[in-house]
């Protein structure tokens, strides 16, 4: 029953099955519903662990592939599979959903609706990570939108309606761009040459076959690849988010309830990075290479801009939200450090690029642990004192020593302290950027200092100092055992990943090596128009 081929579908649809049964719960059985939904996320998490067991390390290709015709006349298949890139992110997501479910105990309003939407969201996320058909990918991508809109809009903070619609609009606009790119590639793959790869007439939505075509180089013209890349990149960059598409993020993250902020930061942002790695780069290697400098620059700007913006915040949660913009900048930077020889078009220092890719993947995983942790820590204190003004905190280490200790570890992990998870990704990315452009590497390294600045400053204002100055001092009580459990669940991976990063590299390295090979040959095989090289950025 649980082979690698079926496990993927189980992981996607187990949350939906649980959501369906939730409908039949008595409205007043709140506790039972929570436990049931938690069971759903736990089952999904263990299924994702089982998937690790099925994974063959050393094979960079797709494993556990399954393909069932869905809409045959359009060559659309229900096609799933996973490699090291999706596997690590799936495990991360299952983990974050599990932890966020635990953090959802504080939700009192319309519990049933909340839990159902929460589980449907998990289905959408898992579907995106496993989908190997562009159409299917798009469907799951948009499926995530609906629950998210309501989760922010109904259970969010005071400006929730504004934040929810803003999130919805940004993502839908990105989705429409992706849809156009999807059509471009569908019809672009309907040529006779492409038939040798697809084996059928008409276009294809098969991401693997489309990547194969892009690698061959002569099927997708440079113009198509550049246009396609711009559309896809904007679509995904909105999700990442990178400067200048990041403006939905502070609103959405701040207004969302704590568990949803954890999911937004921990999982949904990774979907943007995943989309760039899985779709935007493989489908348009030429476009990606042409845009490489711009991408690196956008990555560096995001790092610095996000860090400065975080420094300027007085709202604790908003500061954490901007730190996400900064941290996700490293992801884009790591992916994009693709340097080529101007003469031959061969990648220069390919090992550095691979290192950057690995760093980007690691950064996604590390940020996926540390950032939900930070949001959770903000949520813990917000639940007690009902404000988030950094200037009105202080002295919490004396009042809540246990909580302050945990928070310090999590925030140091976000800061990138050696020995904790945030360090590895940043170092790998900055090192690889050095090969690409020394100036940009130095600037991005400067981001590390800014990060240290805003995090240490925040720690100082919240946890240190003589006494708590803000409202509701009487409400400050030690963490409950449930909160402590969540804290430990988040802290342990911070250490484990920081001390033994091979937990991630072990799985991602082969897949990323293969990806780098494909991209390199894809760019070289694409016939280049002479003028484009000089005019494009």
């Amino acid at each position: 029953m649980f082979t690698a081929e079926t496990l993927t579908s189980w992981i996607i649809f187990v949350p939906t099955i649980f959501a369906f049964f939730l409908v039949f719960f008595e409205k007043k059985a709140v506790e039972a519903m929570r436990v049931f939904a938690l069971a759903g996320t736990v089952v999904t998490f263990f299924l994702s662990l089982a998937l690790i067991g099925q994974f063959t390390v050393g094979d960079g290709g797709m494993q556990g592939k399954i393909s069932v015709p869905w809409i045959a006349s359009w060559n659309i298949n229900y096609q799933l599979g996973y490699d090291g890139i999706s596997l690590t992110l799936v495990v991360l997501s299952a983990f974050v959903f599990l932890v966020s479910m635990l953090a959802s105990w504080g939700i009192e309003k319309h519990v049933k609706g909340y839990l159902i939407l929460f589980l449907i969201l998990e289905t959408g996320v898992m579907g995106v990570f496993f989908a190997l058909d562009f159409f299917l990918f798009y469907v799951f991508w948009e499926v995530m939108l609906l629950p998210m809109y309501f989760l922010i809009g109904v259970w969010g903070g005071p400006r929730r309606e504004y934040a929810a619609i803003k999130f919805f609009l940004y993502t839908l606009a990105g989705g429409v761009l992706m849809l156009i790119a999807l059509l471009m590639y569908y019809f672009g793959s309907a040529t006779p040459e492409a038939m040798a790869i697809t084996g059928h007439s008409g276009g294809s939505f098969d991401l693997l076959k489309l990547a194969e075509m892009a690698q061959r180089g002569d099927i997708f013209s440079p113009g198509l690849q550049v246009a396609g890349f711009i559309l896809l990149f904007i679509g995904f960059a909105i999700k990442v988010p990178t400067f200048p598409f990041h403006t939905w993020l502070p609103d959405a993250h701040v207004e969302a309830p704590t568990p949803i902020s954890m999911i937004l930061a921990g999982v949904l942002l990774k979907l943007g990075g995943y989309g760039i790695i899985r779709i935007a780069f493989p489908l348009c290697p030429y476009g990606a290479q042409v845009a490489a400098y711009a991408l690196v620059a956008i990555g560096v700007i995001s790092i610095i801009y996000g860090a400065f913006a975080a420094l300027a915040q007085t709202d604790f949660k908003r500061m954490v939200a901007y730190s996400s913009v900064s941290h996700m900048g490293y992801v884009l930077l790591g992916i994009a450090v693709w340097k080529i020889s101007e003469v031959t078009g061969v990648a220069e220092g390919r090992d550095y690029w691979l290192m950057g890719m690995n760093g980007a993947m690691f950064q996604m995983i590390a940020h996926g642990v540390s950032s939900p942790g930070m949001f959770f820590m903000v949520g813990v204190i917000y639940d007690r004192v009902h404000h988030r003004d950094l200037n009105q905190f202080g002295g919490l280490s004396g009042l809540m020593p246990n909580y302050s200790g945990m928070a310090a570890v999590i925030f140091f992990a976000g800061l990138g302290l050696p020995g904790l998870c945030g360090f590895i990704g940043e170092v790998f990315v900055v090192l690889s950027a050095w090969n690409y452009s020394k100036t940009l590497a130095i600037v991005s390294a400067g981001g590390v200092i800014l990060t240290a600045g805003y995090i240490l400053w925040a720690l100082q204002r919240v946890y240190l100092g003589p006494a708590y100055k803000g409202p509701h001092p009487e409400a400050i009580t030690p963490m409950t055992s449930r909160e402590q459990a969540i804290g430990w669940l988040l802290i342990v991976p911070c250490f484990v990943l920081g001390v033994y990063p091979n937990f991630v590299f072990n799985y991602t390295n082969d897949s990323l090596t293969k990806l780098v090979d494909t991209l390199d040959s894809g760019y070289q095989n694409t016939p280049k128009p002479n003028s484009v090289q000089t005019t494009q950025k």
């Binding site: 015709p69 809409i71 006349s73 948009e142 809009g153 309606e161 839908l172 606009a173 059509l183 569908y186």
Partner: protein, 537 residues
């Protein structure tokens, strides 16, 4: 003398042996109308409720058309002109007749549930409803300019009366008057166009027009040529009549007022059924140009581009105007205008691909997908739009209001109705996995293909994509009111019977999801319909 006898004999044979047999569904509807009126006159029978007679008639007609369609697909029946070529009996027409009958059944069920015509008025109301449907069925099978006009008028006149059916309401009467005046104007223009076209070609038979036109248009004649100018003028005038029925910009002014004034049930009926009939007619009229010389094709090609520009304007105008509305029926009226724009894009792509100079096997495939997209869109539109209007009607019966702000917090009181509305709205926006998304995708894909023929289609495609995002702005307001706002104190309570009402709502709303998740079967059937219409196979 003998010759006339022979002629009469052949006419009788043709009529009795083939035509009447294939015309049974229409005759059933006519018989139902007579039966309802008889019941009203005869004192013994006046206790028989008119809605049951109407429902029985609609069911019979639907079952009959279903059988006909099945036989056409199976090959036991063959496409043939009936009534000496006045009407066309083929898969395309039969599909639309079936579609209209199905819609008639659903509308009658809705009126029974919402009780809009009271006992006294029921026979009148259902007579008008069935009469309008009859006219639309004739529109769908019209094969002659005469029947084009007759069909449009037969569909329009009962609609005018239905709009004003809420007697004693000022808005309703005003709406009806507006509709009549606009309708009469449009019909007059259309009739003039028809007379010009018939005078030029000396025939009214649609399939002959292309051939006849090529006899009078000299090769290479431009717009300065008086004959070409007359043809273009005549076609535009006919299009004005159809554009009025479709509420295409700039002939849409009646639509919001009429929808606001009419009962929601009638508005729902008009928005779907009269559009379906008019689109069928538009496709037939567009295809009437085929089979002509290159010069005629060029005229049709230009018309196709013009329709594309109109489509883009219609979608944009509809969506932008909807944004400011506070009355839900007005908003939905503008939304139907926008949707007419999307569907018109398919017709535009069809004309452009069909009449382009570089025709070939590939462009035939695209024309098929244009019609497939149009039919699929209409089919999904039936459920999503009727669903939205049905819920508006059902809610109106409880809260006596159609203002969006009175919908605040409804989700807590009638979760099922709101869930149905959410499904319809997501489908109207065009989000996957709803049927509205797949329909939009097929249409956008055809338009995308048409961009390779003429650059103006990029504009159309761009308008379509942007409008998808525009649409979100106002549709989401309904959901925002229902789900995100609290129910004000003292607001009227909404209660409904789960059994007939809830079931009905699910029955019309769930297909919007089903058509998105499992579109394969329908898409193939519709493609087949298109194939028979365009290629005869």
């Amino acid at each position: 003398m003998n010759e006339i006898g022979l002629l009469v004999q052949r006419l009788l044979d043709e009529t009795t042996k083939t035509s009447v047999g294939l015309f049974v569904p229409e005759l059933v509807l006519s018989g139902t109308i007579v039966a309802m009126l008889l019941c009203r006159i005869l004192p013994l029978l006046w206790r028989v409720p008119a809605q049951w007679i109407a429902l029985l008639g609609a069911f019979t007609a639907f079952a009959w058309t279903l059988c006909q369609f099945d036989q056409l697909v199976g090959g036991t029946l063959h496409a043939t002109p009936i009534f000496t070529g006045l009407l066309m009996f083929d898969q395309f027409a039969t599909f639309f007749r079936m579609f209209l009958c199905l819609f008639l059944i659903l509308t009658i069920t809705l009126t029974v549930l919402s009780g809009i015509p009271d006992r006294e008025d029921a026979p009148d109301f259902y007579t008008l409803l069935l009469g309008a449907t009859l006219g639309m069925m004739i529109m769908a099978s019209a094969n002659h300019l005469l029947m084009v006009f007759l069909g449009v008028e037969m569909a329009s006149v009962p609609s005018y009366a239905m709009v004003g059916f809420l007697k004693g309401r000022k808005k309703s009467s005003e709406a009806a008057l507006k509709y009549v005046v606009y309708g009469a104007g449009a019909a007059g223009v259309m009739l003039y166009g028809i007379s010009l076209l018939a005078g030029l070609t000396g025939t009214g038979s649609l399939p002959e027009i292309g051939h006849r036109l090529s006899l009078i248009v000299s090769q290479g004649a431009g717009i300065s040529d008086p004959i070409v100018r007359t043809i273009v003028l005549a076609s535009l005038m006919v299009l004005v009549g159809l554009a009025f029925k479709l509420s295409v910009f700039p002939f849409h002014f009646w639509c919001p007022d009429v929808f606001e004034g009419a009962a929601a049930e009638v508005a729902g009926f008009l928005s779907v059924a009269s559009k379906a009939g008019a689109f069928a007619l538009l496709v037939r009229f567009g295809l009437a140009f085929s089979g002509g010389s290159a010069a005629v094709s060029e005229i049709a090609f230009a018309l196709g581009i013009g329709i594309g520009v109109l489509a883009a304007a219609t979608a944009t105008f509809g969506n932008l105007s909807a944004y400011g509305q506070t009355n839900i029926k007005r908003m939905l009226a503008y939304s139907t205008i926008a949707h007419a724009g999307y569907m018109l894009m398919a017709v535009s792509a069809l004309m452009v691909m069909k009449f382009s100079k570089h025709g070939g096997a590939e462009s035939t495939a695209v024309t098929l997908s244009c019609i497939e997209g149009l039919i699929y869109y209409l089919f999904v539109y039936l459920f999503m739009n009727l669903g939205a209007f049905a819920i508006v009607a059902l809610v109106r019966n409880q809260i006596f209001s159609e203002e969006i702000e009175d919908y605040n917090g409804l989700a807590t009181q009638c979760p099922l109705l709101c869930f149905g509305m959410a499904l319809c709205i997501f489908s109207l926006i065009g989000l996957p996995p709803m049927g509205g998304f797949f329909a939009k995708l097929v249409i956008f894909a055809s338009v995308f293909k048409a961009t390779s023929v003429h650059w103006a289609m990029w504009f159309v495609l761009g308008a379509g994509a942007i409008n998808t995002v525009f649409g979100l702005f106002y549709y989401i307001r309904i959901l925002k009111a229902m789900y995100l706002k609290p129910r004000p104190d003292g607001a009227r309570k909404v209660s409904y019977d789960l059994m007939p009402v809830g079931l009905f709502v699910l029955m019309i709303c769930l297909p919007t999801l089903g058509l998105g998740v499992l579109p394969a079967r329908f898409a193939e059937t519709f493609n087949n319909v298109a194939s028979v219409l365009l290629t005869g196979r």
